[in-house]
Amino acid sequence: MPISFGGRYQGSSFSELLGIDHAQLVPDWGRLCPVGLDLEGVPHGTTVLAFKYADGVIVAGDRLATEGHRVASRDLEKVLATDDYSLIAIAGAAGPALEMARLMRIELEHYEKIEGERLELDGKANRLSQMVRANLPAAMQGLVVVPVFAGYDLRRRQGRLWKFDVTGGRYEETEYEATGSGGLYARESLKKSYDASAPREAGLRAAIQALADAADEDRATGGVDLERGIYPIVNFCTASGIERAGDEEIDRIYREILSTRRRVPARGGRR
């Protein structure tokens, strides 16, 4: 005997529930966004990265969002926890990306409550890849969302991370990944500093360094804003959950990095 509140859906997925019983709530930018929309007017997130370290995985991102050449937001949060052991870091069109992160979080919580068990980390990554794929029509019109997904795998006892392409392609990375407008520079930086057995402090330093390098080369990446006191987000995901690095800690390490890079004015400078 079916008991119902008017819905038909019987499964464990929140996004499917929306699609079947609450179609009006499904965020479908592919349908809503007419071709030729001026994408310069849509805020875009810039650099996010993830890499493994001794205790698990570090996921970090700067805080800037841009609309074309203008600043849209200086303190956007682009690294978001999707549950106690996984995070999503987003680059690309901020609106759809943040909505995808929010849906992903509800998706995982919904599954856990309906089934009484958490999804495995692989299952979570697979779910996200289906969401990215569902966004393909919007991506074709320019609203590209390319997340990095990372978490601590409680079964395999290790940190893991994935990158995605617009078609929903899912690629597990063994060491590090960075994406967004400054992703290339962040990756170059991580290539040199990466150490799978790095302790917490060294990992934090590598993350800040990579974001500072990206901000140095890519004008759309925010880096560390000492003037306003806006610091990047750096999250550690380990067997005991997610912990976010404090602003003081980031400030201290960033100033150390700056002091090693500062040069005495020479060539061409006035004496």
Partner: protein, 232 residues
Amino acid sequence: MTMPFYVSPEQVMQDKAEYARKGIARGKSSVTLEYDAGVLLMAENPSSLSKIGEIYDRIAFAGVGKFSEFDQLRKLGVRYADTRGYAYSRDDVRAKGLANAYSQAMGEVFTRELKPLEVEVIVAEVGDDTLAGHERNAIYRVQFDGSISDHKGFCVIGGAAEELGSLLRSEYRDGLPLKEALLLGYRALQRAADREPNVTADNIEVCLLERHRAGRKFRRLDTDTLREHLGT
């Protein structure tokens, strides 16, 4: 050819109600209590299938009777809450709305279907001191025919609800610390199981809605923690 007998609507309803009550009376009981820092839900449950579940940040569910039926209701509740929280905000998901939805759906089954639901459910909500106007706890009980009632302090559903209710009425007081509330609920469940007095920490299910926890306030107590609290 046989003619169908005329049966009066009163008789039909009475028969259905009796059928449902008998079904529920065969099952075990469940107790929900307010304590000083939240709401406590307990059920006698020797199996690994849960009778108590998380619905949303501040809302929990407990069911007694036929498992397949109240588990369907629990899932409906999760779907209702998550959809509402997604469409509006997390703070807009309230126990009252859900209890009303249960009442509608269960009443509908009772009047339309041949077989009524053999379940009773509790929807409990813990208050949040950081949200003005949402500080109070709420406990709703919905019965097989959709009748709904709200309760202060404690609420019992299931086979021995009457008996447990009288014990709690005489022993419950406001602002019990967790340990004492747990012991009271434990004694109540033991009394309910008088016929087979084997209620121990191993075969009861205990969940909490903790007022001071951030975000999702639901927590399931494992057997070891429970033993510690009960001192057994």
